[in-house]
Amino acid sequence: MFRSRQEKSGSRSQRARRVIPATLAVLAVGALAACGGASSSTDSGAATPGGGDNGGSGAELQLWTLQNEGINGVQQAAVDRFNESSDAQISLSTYVNDPYKTKLQTSIGSANAPDIFYNWGGGNLKAYVDAGRVADLTDALDAAPDIKSKFIPSVLDVATIDGKVYGVPMQAVQPVSFFYNKDVMADAGITEFPATWTELLSVVDQLKAAGVQPIALAGSQGWTELMYLEYILDRVGGPEKFEAIRLNEEGAWKDPAVVKSMEMVQELVDHGAFGSNYAAVSYDNNGSQALLTSGKAAMELMGSWEVTSLNDSFPDFLAAGTLGWADFPVIEGGAGDPGNIVGNPSNFYSVTSDSDDVEAATQFLLTQMASDEYVDALISVGQVPAITGLGERVKVGQFADFNAYAYNLVLDSPTFTQSWDQALAPDLAQTMLLNIQQVFNKQMTPQEFADAMDAAA
């Protein structure tokens, strides 16, 4: 499923919570989901059309976004600023993650469709674009080059389909990188985080000799394992390899680089990098984080939300300053630029093509999403916006150092590949996650993986 994975300031990992709504959604929605579906909508924004009738041009626009204590206030403020100076009035509705997807999926072609909607870019957005439901923002952005240039290009690319822009980034960038326990590394005599694959393997051996599990892996959830494949394929074959897969090119899954990457994954498994019981470890109940913070494991590959999530569950660990972070190692002889990153570039707002007032909705995105007020407000709740030229401005708050690291990582990256399970069509993504788990569990060989994915694509 597409995950939002955004950082949540002051609340527990959203992943842990998703589970219950997911189950409830099944019970509530059941077989009738096709007919409209239940969802928990809370109108936090209570539309207040300014002064009675709005006259002719004042459309009432619906903005749908995900429930998130930290960010909703920032979004509401942006809506209020817009409403003050516009005939069209926007009202904000917030939804819980999993019901939202069903709600959006079933309502977007109907009369109940929102005007502006939160989405994940990539394959998720493409489905709506292909159905002709999303307004093309290219011309509007080109007409305002000073605004367009504010969005980090590699992030804006994720909402660009066939050369046309269909969405604008509206919250934090979430690159994936390694996190490690500085004390454990030091105790094993490791002074620097491995910069190359060879070094990584030797560090794995060193840590094993020191009696700790080298890498924590929440292997009961396929998306944590997917991150390895994403990075390794990018380093080995370059971002073009996944681009070919995404575009469903003939034989893309059978590319030798894909097989090679999966072999390297199994090389890590065989080296004992993840210990033996990783398939039972869950990220939702902090199983892998507990390994990292307790010192039973030395590192974990995870998205940038790891920092706030660790802070929610293990605040002492964060306060002690033992958390380190580092780029994914370079793979010797690989074709990919070592500056490339993977993860969730951002989330996006898009405008529906059936909206009562496409122009006003577009104006909202242009005037608000890159505005200083919005950007500063995002930073103040711990989000690192996908906006260029922020420099030292992101270096505030409790996680200033990490925020600056994540910001520069994204800013300097030649390409930012979106998490595959979000970039691909949802049914293919499910098959892929299942097969990746089987490769990690040695139930499937790398070649079988390539063949199975080729057959499914």
Binding site: V19, V26, L32, Q105, S220, S276
Partner: protein, 300 residues
């Protein structure tokens, strides 16, 4: 004529009008979705655009889907083993708790705790217990030969680990059924048997078990049909993993439909489930003669 109808309605035989709410409810929430799901199984439907007729395409996919045989087998095993394990524990326990005694009511109070918890809460609780590094699994595992505590991550053990949790959730309910039924067995039967010199075990097999016959059928239907359609604990605990080791048919349907947004093929799986579940409960009631509703109290 008219006086006759009046008499019969006065005798507590209400007309059709009384059944209207139930029929409407059943029609709207059971029959209609069933018809819809059969229709959807012949379409391509992602929820985004209107369903497109696809003929037998989805049904043909059954033959090429490597997961479908696996999930059918797992569902069959889960259903059968759940029934065996839960009945074997719930029946004796229910009978035991039916007798009077302070200890027993205290024990009963503890046994019934899982009844109060939602499936999602139980699954989250057990996922913490099954954590191989910090959960109970890390302590119990080494004692029973699973050195690394890897229960739900091991393709061979995951299925039985899940089975255990489901049993833990449902045994209390069935125990309650058996407890109530055992309490309803007339004491005079036991008194007579005691006079005839029947021991405790003989009394259990000759009196208690036959008297519980209808309860056994009820409980079995609930268990068999229930575990066929059951999946929330598995969804949360293992997500069908590791790999596809616990991907039972309903979960396969859920993931296909609500994560893969392939509603057409998911509807095919739903139809199979529907047919299996209906067939199963028909067979059980037929075989056991449950529908005759015969009294067990003749001669009393």
């Amino acid at each position: 004529m008219s006086s006759e109808t009046q008499t019969s309605s006065q005798a507590g035989r209400p007309g059709f009008i009384w059944a209207v709410p139930a029929v409407l409810f059943f029609g709207a929430f059971a029959v209609l979705p069933m018809v819809a799901v059969v229709y959807l199984s012949f379409t391509t439907y992602g929820g985004l655009e209107a369903p497109v007729w696809a003929g037998l395409d989805n049904w043909k996919r059954l033959t090429t889907d490597p997961l479908v045989v696996n999930s059918l087998w797992l569902s069959a095993m889960l259903t059968l083993l759940s029934w065996l394990v839960q009945t074997a524990i719930a029946l004796p326990l229910g009978v035991y708790l039916a007798s009077k005694g302070r200890m027993r009511s205290l024990l009963a109070a503890f046994f019934f705790v899982p009844l109060l918890m939602s499936g999602a809460a139980i699954a989250l609780l057990w996922s913490t217990l099954y954590d191989p590094n910090f959960g109970l699994a890390s302590i119990i595992g080494p004692l029973i030969g699973v050195e690394d505590g890897n229960f739900i991550g091991n393709p061979k053990l995951a299925f039985y680990s899940v089975l255990l949790v489901i049993a833990w959730q449902f045994i209390p309910f069935h125990t309650l059924l058996y407890q109530g039924a055992a309490r309803a067995v007339p004491v005079s039967l036991y008194e007579a048997a005691t006079i005839d010199g029947a021991g405790r075990f003989k009394q259990f097999t000759a009196i208690t078990l036959p008297q519980l016959r209808d309860t056994i059928v009820t409980s079995s239907v609930l268990m068999l049909v229930g575990s066929l359609a059951y999946f929330e604990i598995i969804l949360i605990l293992t997500g069908g993993g590791p790999g596809a080791a616990t991907r039972i048919l309903p979960l396969h349907m859920y993931i296909t439909g609500f994560r893969g947004f392939d509603m057409g093929y998911a509807s095919v799986l739903a139809v199979i489930l529907l047919v299996l579940g209906t067939a199963l409960s028909l067979v059980i009631t037929k075989v056991t003669g449950f529908r005759k509703m015969a009294s067990q109290r003749e001669g009393l």
